[in-house]
Symmetry: C2
Subunit: 590 residues, 2 copies
C-alpha cells in the first residue's frame, strides 16, 4: 500500500492513468498535435537542428509519467542552449567536444534538480525572485535575438561570444557579407509571425493562428526555396537531417574531461534557472485551474527528464511557457498531450526529416526571434519600476549582467543585491514614533496616520524587525537619539519632561544575545536620565529569551504590558498616584 | 569656524586640551604610569620583544590626539601578532620578510579602517556579532596560550603553524627537549599572576595588585636569573635589546612584494577584527561613564594610528580591554594617560633596555598566558548557551574554526552562519493564528496566550516579516494550508464554515513585487473557496506599494482595517446584515 502510494507520488501517471477516458484522449490528442506543431519548428530552430527534435521526444515522455502538472508542455527553452554555450563555449572551442560537454552539463543539471527535489530543498529557487528571472530571461533573449541576425543576414562566420557587444561587433564588421535575399525573406517571415502573435493575443479564441504560424512558415519557406531553387542563390537551408530516433549518448558523456568542473558548474546554474522557470510556469497554470503543484516533486520530474535526456542526445529541457500556453488553450486534460507531442516528433524523426531539407535557416531564425521577443517582458519591467524601484534595479542588473557580461555575472549580481536588500530589512529596521488615535486605545505611527497624536510624558517607539547583532548597535543609537531629540524638543517648548519610553515589540519576531545586551544598555542609559523603559506586546520567542537572560528580572515584570494602550494607561495612572508599584502589579501581564 | 569644528572633530584633543587642568594631570599621570607598567612587560612578551615596546610608543600618541574615548588605552592586543602570523606566516617563511609584510599588513589595516570611518561605513563591524568575537578571541587566545608552552618549556624549535593541532604536535613530539628548570619557574610565575588576578577581581579596589604583577614578575625574574646566573643553566633570556626609539619603516614597506595581495587580505581581516574589538572596548566604557562614542570617528583614529604605526616599526594596535580597565580603575580623566604611558615607554626605550637583558623568556610566556586566559571568556559562552543556542553555535564555530582551521575559516564560517540566520528570519517567517483575548478587542497568538480564543467564522493570521521574493512562495503555501486545515477541522466538527480570512500586517515592514503577486494569488485562491481576504493594519510602506500595484483596487479599499478588532467587528456585522457594502464603508480606513 505504502509502496503503491510512493510510486503514485513519484509517477502521477499511475494515479490519473487508470481513470483516463476517451473524452480526455480526444482533448489531449488535439492539444498534443498543437504543441507538436509548435515544438517541431522551434526544435529545428536550435543549433544543430536535429537536437531540438530529439529534445522534444524523450523528455516529454518522462515528464508525462512523472510531472504533476497537467498543463505544462516541456521542451528546450529558447535561451537554454545560449546559457550552456555561455558557460561552456568560452572555454571549449571544438564543436564536437562542446556538444558532449553540453550533454554532460545537462546530466549534472538533472542530477542537481533531482537531488534538490529529493532532499526537499526545492525552495532554493525562491531565491531567484520574479524580478531576477524577468531581467535574466530578457537579457538572454536579447542576446539570442541578436545571434539570430547571423541566420537572417546569411552570415557564414560568427562570434562564439555570448554577450551583446561581441555579437553586435560580429554583425557590424561583416556588412559586406550581408545577403539581401536572406534579409528580405527574414523580415517578411518575422512580420508574419509577429502579426499572428499580435492577433492571437488580442483574440485569445484564435490562439491557434499564432500556434500554427511557425509550422506554416516552415512549410511556406521550404516550398519557396524548393520552387525557385533559392538555395543556389545565397539562401542557406538546413540540408540533410539524420533520419532515426535519438542516438544514445550515455557512453559519450565525457566524465574524464578536463572541463568536468566547468560542466558541473554550468549544470548547477542552468539547472536552477530552468527549474525556476519550469516551476513558475507550472504554478501559474495550477493557480489558474485551482490545483496544487508540489515544487519538490516537479524538481524530481525535471531532474529525471534531464538525466534521461542527457543519455539520449537531448539539450536541457524544462516546462516551456509558450508551449504550455498553447497546450492549455487547446484544452488539454492531462499530461497525455506531452505523449501525443512526443509521438508526433517521433514520426517526424522517423519519416519526415527529408522534407525539412529545404527549410531555409532564415525562417528558423525568424521563428527564434519571434519567440525570444516574447521573452523580453517590457510590461513586467515597467510594472516593477512603478511598484518597487529596487526590484527594477535587480531586474536591470540581471539584464545588463547577462547581456553585457555573462550568465554567471548577471545571476550572481542579481541574487547578491536581492539578498543584500533582505539583509538591510533586518540590519536597518524602521523605528517609528507612535501616537494615540483619538478616542481609542489604538497607537499608530505618527508619520503614517495624521490623526495619531503623541501622549505627553511618553515616548512610544515601534521596532519592526528581529533585534539581532546586525541591528543592535544601530537600534541603540536610534532609540537614544529619539529620546535626546524628544527631550530637547520638550525643553525648548518648556513642556513637562519625558517620564516613560514605551517600546512596542509586536513586530519583533526574535531577539538574540546582542539584542538583549542592547536593551540592557538602553535601559541603563535611560535610568541615568531618570526615564523608565516599558515594553509592550513582546512575542513568545522574545519573552523566552529575555526570561532566560534574566533581563525581565532586571527590567521588572511589571514593566511589560500586553498592548501599548495598557502600558500608557497604567503608567499614566502611576504618574498621578503616590504608590506606583502597587498599581502596576494589578494591570501587568507576563 | 567650520574649519575649527572639523579639526576638533578629527582631533578631540583640541577640544579638551584647552580645558585641561592640573587636577586632570595628576589623575592622568597616575593612570598613565599604571598602564605603562602593564604595557611594558606585555610589550616585551611579543615576538620580537622590542616591537611590543615600539607599538606602545607611537600609536598611543596618535590615539591621544584623535581618539574620542577618555578611558581607552591602546597597544597590541595579545592575539594580534598571531592573526598576522596566521594569515602571512603560512606563505612566507623568511623571518625578515615576514616582519616587513606584517608592517605592510598593518599599513593596509590602517588604511582600511580609516577609509571605513571616513566613508561612515563603520557599521560593518556590527556584522561581527558579540558571539563571533567571543568565539574568535577565545580560539585565538587558546592557540597563543599553547604557543607560549615554547617559552615555558624552554623549547628551541617550534612550528610556524597557527592551529591547535600543529602547536600541540610540536610540544608533544619534543618531550626530550623540555627543560624542567624553565617549566618550574614558569609554573611559579603563572600561579603568582593568576592569584593576583583572582584577588583583584574579587576586590576591585586592589586592582593595582594585578596591574603591578607583570612588572613585578619581570623584575623578580630578572633578578633571580642575574643572581643565580640561570641563563647559563638552560633558562633563556631576552638578551640584548636595541636601544633607541622606533626606527622608521616606511621605506621598507614591501609594496612590490609578490605577497602584496596576501598582505592586503590580512590587513582587511585583522583591521576589521581589531577595530571591532577596540570599538567594543570604547563603547562599554562610554556606556558606563555616560558619554557617547562615534564608531566612525574611532575607526578613523584607529586607522591613522595604525598607518603611523606601520611607518615606525609597530605591530597592529587597537584599544586593549585589559589596559583600558587598568586605566579606568586608576582614575584616568582624559586621553592624556596614553601620552604619559608613551613617555614612560620612551624612557624605557632610551635608557632602560639594558636592564631587560636578563629577563627570562619563561616569565614573559607566563605573562602572555595569564593575559590570554583572560580572553577565553567561558562565562560569556555559557551565557550564550543558556539564552540563545544559535548564538552559542556561532561562537563555537568561530572558536573551532580559528583554533583548528585558520583565522579566515573561523571568521568566514561564523559570519556566514550569522547572516544565514538573519536571512532565515526573513525567508521563513512565523505565521501565527490569532485569537481574541476575552472581554477586549485585542487579538494575540493562540500559541502564546492561552486565553486567546478563535472567533467562529474567522481565521486570523499574523505574518511577522517583510514579504518578499524569498518568503513569498513559502507564505502562499503556509497561508493556504492554514485555511485548508481550518476548513477540515470545522467540517469534521460540523461547525459553520469559514467566511473571512484576516491577515494582520502590523509586523510586515515592507513588501516587494513578488510579495504583492503572492497576495494576489492568495486572494484568487480564496475567492474560489468563497472566502474573503481582509487586511488589518498594513504599514505605510506596504500601503504605498499595494496602491501603486493596484492591489488595493483589486482587493477593495473597504477590506483594509486599522486593527484586527475593527476588521472582526465590521465583518461580523456584515455577516448578520443584508447590505454588507454600505456598512463596510463606514468603518473602513485607508
Amino acid at each position: 500500500m505504502i509502496f503503491r502510494l510512493g510510486l503514485q507520488y513519484l509517477f502521477p501517471i499511475l494515479e490519473w492513468g487508470p481513470r483516463y477516458s476517451f473524452q480526455f484522449l480526444k482533448a489531449d490528442l488535439i492539444s498534443g498535435i498543437f504543441i507538436a506543431s509548435v515544438a517541431i519548428p522551434h526544435g529545428i530552430a536550435n543549433q544543430p537542428p536535429i537536437l531540438g527534435l530529439y529534445s522534444s521526444f524523450v523528455p516529454p515522455l518522462v515528464y508525462a509519467m512523472m510531472g504533476s502538472s497537467r498543463d505544462v508542455a516541456v521542451g528546450t527553452v529558447g535561451v537554454g542552449p545560449l546559457l550552456m554555450a555561455s558557460m561552456l563555449g568560452n572555454k571549449v572551442k571544438a564543436n564536437e567536444t562542446c556538444l558532449h560537454l553540453a550533454f554532460l552539463a545537462t546530466f549534472f543539471a538533472g542530477v542537481f534538480q533531482a537531488l534538490l527535489g529529493l532532499l526537499r530543498l526545492g525552495f532554493v529557487v525562491d531565491f531567484l525572485s520574479h524580478a531576477t528571472i524577468v531581467g535574466f530571461m530578457g537579457g538572454a533573449a536579447t542576446v539570442v535575438c541578436l545571434q539570430q541576425l547571423k541566420g537572417i543576414l546569411g552570415l557564414d562566420h560568427f562570434t562564439h561570444g555570448t554577450d551583446i557587444v561581441s555579437v553586435m561587433r560580429s554583425v557590424v564588421t561583416q556588412t559586406h557579407q550581408w545577403r539581401w535575399e536572406s534579409g528580405v525573406m527574414g523580415c517578411c517571415f518575422l512580420s508574419f509571425l509577429m502579426l499572428t502573435k499580435y492577433f492571437s493575443k488580442r483574440r485569445p479564441k484564435f490562439f491557434w493562428v499564432s500556434a500554427m504560424a511557425p509550422l506554416t512558415s516552415v512549410i511556406l519557406g521550404s516550398l519557396l526555396v524548393y520552387l525557385i531553387r533559392a538555395d543556389r542563390h545565397g539562401v542557406q537551408v538546413i540540408g540533410n537531417l539524420k533520419k532515426g530516433l535519438n542516438p544514445p549518448s550515455l557512453s559519450e558523456l565525457p566524465f574524464g574531461s578536463p572541463y568536468l568542473w566547468t560542466a558541473i558548474k554550468a549544470g548547477i546554474v542552468t539547472g536552477i534557472i530552468s527549474a525556476a522557470e519550469g516551476i513558475a510556469v507550472g504554478r501559474s497554470f495550477a493557480m489558474f485551474n485551482n490545483y496544487h503543484i508540489d515544487g519538490n516533486k516537479e524538481m524530481i520530474a525535471f531532474g529525471m527528464m534531464n538525466i534521461a535526456g542527457s543519455f539520449t542526445s537531448c539539450y536541457l529541457t524544462t516546462g516551456s511557457s509558450s508551449r504550455s500556453e498553447v497546450n492549455f488553450n487547446a484544452g488539454c486534460k492531462t499530461a497525455m498531450s506531452n505523449i501525443v507531442m512526443a509521438m508526433a516528433v517521433m514520426i517526424t524523426l522517423l519519416f519526415l526529416t527529408p522534407l525539412l531539407h529545404y527549410t531555409p535557416i532564415v525562417v528558423l531564425s525568424s521563428i527564434s526571434i519571434a519567440a525570444m521577443l516574447g521573452l523580453i517582458d517590457y510590461d513586467a519591467a515597467i510594472h516593477l519600476w512603478k511598484v518597487d524601484k529596487f526590484d527594477f534595479i535587480v531586474c536591470m542588473t540581471a539584464y545588463i549582467g547577462v547581456g553585457f557580461g555573462s550568465v554567471e555575472i548577471g545571476l550572481v549580481l542579481a541574487v547578491a543585491i536581492s539578498l543584500l536588500r533582505m539583509l538591510l530589512f533586518v540590519a536597518r529596521p524602521r523605528t517609528s514614533v507612535l501616537g494615540n488615535i483619538p478616542n481609542s486605545k489604538i497607537y499608530r505611527s505618527v508619520d503614517q496616520y495624521r490623526a495619531a497624536s503623541p501622549v505627553p510624558g511618553f515616548l512610544i517607539l515601534e521596532i519592526d524587525a528581529p533585534i539581532c547583532f546586525a541591528n543592535a548597535g544601530y537600534l541603540r543609537e536610534r532609540i537614544l537619539r529619539w529620546i535626546y531629540e524628544e527631550e530637547d524638543k520638550l525643553k525648548a517648548a518648556g513642556e513637562s519632561s519625558l517620564q516613560y519610553v514605551i517600546v512596542a515589540m509586536g513586530a519583533v519576531s526574535n531577539i538574540d544575545t546582542s539584542g538583549i545586551s542592547m536593551l540592557e544598555e538602553v535601559k541603563k542609559s535611560m535610568e541615568r536620565r531618570e526615564l523608565k523603559l516599558v515594553l509592550a506586546n513582546p512575542g513568545g520567542e522574545v519573552m523566552k529569551k529575555m526570561n532566560k537572560s534574566k533581563f525581565i528580572e532586571v527590567l521588572g515584570q511589571e514593566w511589560i504590558y500586553l498592548t501599548v494602550g495598557e502600558a500608557v494607561g497604567a503608567c499614566d495612572f502611576m504618574l498621578h498616584t503616590s504608590n506606583p508599584k502597587a498599581m502596576a502589579d494589578d494591570s501587568s501581564m507576563v
